[in-house]
Symmetry: C2
Amino acid sequence: MTTRTDAPTRREQILREAARLFAERGFHGVGVDEIGAAVGISGPGLYRHFPGKDAMLAELLVGISERLLDGGRRRVAESDGDPEALLSALIDGHIDFALHDRALITLHDRELDRLRETDRKLVRQLQRQYVELWVEAVRRAYPSLAEPDARAAVHAVFGLLNSTPHLGPAGTLVGRPATGALLHRLARGAFAAAAHEDSGDAPGAPAAD
Amino acid sequence: MTTRTDAPTRREQILREAARLFAERGFHGVGVDEIGAAVGISGPGLYRHFPGKDAMLAELLVGISERLLDGGRRRVAESDGDPEALLSALIDGHIDFALHDRALITLHDRELDRLRETDRKLVRQLQRQYVELWVEAVRRAYPSLAEPDARAAVHAVFGLLNSTPHLGPAGTLVGRPATGALLHRLARGAFAAAAHEDSGDAPGAPAAD
DNA sequence: GCCATACGTTAACGCTCATTAACGTTCTCG
DNA sequence: CGAGAACGTTAATGAGCGTTAACGTATGGC
C-alpha cells in the first residue's frame, strides 16, 4: 500500500464529508446518496472508492484510533522523564484533536457498535492501548492513585475533553485558544483532585435509591 | 390525564426496554419488533401504547430532561445559601442519575436530533435551563470565573460525569460507592482548577494548525 | 347477557435505502 | 489512433422496517 500525503483526493473528501454527516445524524441516519451529494457525485458513485458504507465508517474509526494512539506514543517517546510534563503533553494532544476534529470525536464513542466484528475488535484494541498509555502516565504523575481509580479518572477526563461538540457551533467557544487552555486546566484539576483522598467536607457518594 | 405511580405498568416496561435498546444500538438501529419482543409482545402491539416509535424516544428524552431539571431546582430551593454546598449537591444529584440510569444518560446527548422539531425544541429548552442553573451555581461558588468559561466548564464537567457508560459493564466500576465519590472529587477538582488562572507551569492552549 | 374497552395477534402496504447492473465519458499512454 | 483504466451516471433489485388493517379475546360494569 502507498501512503500518500500529496493532495486532498476524492477519497479523502468523501471520508471528511461522511464523518461530518455521520456525526450529525448517525450512521443509520445518513444515506449514501447524501454522502455522494456532499462531494458532488451522486449515490452509487461512491462504490468506485469504497466497497460499501460500512467500510467508510470502519476506515474513519480505525484512522481516529490510530492517530490518537500514535500521537500518545510519540509524546511518551519524546518525554524527558518528567511525569507532570508528559501528562500535560498528552492532555494537549488530546485537546488539539478534540478541538480540531469534533466530528471524529463524536463518532469515536458513538458509532463503534455499527462496525463489523473484526473492525470493532481492532478499534477497541487501539482504544484500550491508548487508555493504558494514559493510565500509566497518570499513575506516574500521581503514585498515590490506585489503578482502578486511575482508570476511571482517565475515562472521565476523556469525557471531559471530548465535550467539545457540546460547546455550541464552532466559533463561539471552540477555536479560540482560551478554550484549549481552560480544558487543560479542567483536566489537570480533575486528576489532581482524584489523588487527594482527603478532600475536606466533600460528602462523597450520593445515596442510591 | 392521570399520573399513577402505582406499579410498573406495561407502558413503563416498554419505555425501560426501549431506552436500553436505543442506547445499545441507536434509535435507527432498533426495530419495533425488537422492542416488542423485549417486553413479551410482538411488533405492532406497541401501537396500543404509543402512537409511534418516535413518541417513545420523545417521552424518554423529555422525561430525562425534566427529571434532571426538577432535581436541580429542588436542590437549589433546598440550598441554605452556601454556594459550595449547593454545587456539591448538584454534582451528587447528577452522579446519582448517571450511575443509576446509564442508558438514559447515553440517549440524552446522542439521539436528540432524531426528535420531531417540536419535541427537540422542548428538550433543548429544558437542557438549557439545567445548564443555566449549574452555571449560576458555579459562578456563585467561583466568582472569579468569567461567564463563558463557567459555561464551558459546566459542559465539560457534564461530559466527565456522563462518562459512566464508558466505565465498562455494570459491577466492575459502576455500582460501588467509591466510584461516585471519585467522580465527585474529579468534578470539584475541575471546577476549582478552572477558577485558578495562574496554574503555574501548565503551558495552556495547544497549537492548532 | 352484552356491549365497550383494553390489549394482542398476524398479514399486508409502502417507503427507504444499500447494493448491483448496464451503460457512458474522459484521459493517458503505447 | 485506440485500448483500457479511472470515474460517473441512471435504472433496477431486494431486503428491512415503520405503520396500518383486519381480526381475536378477556374483562368489567350496566
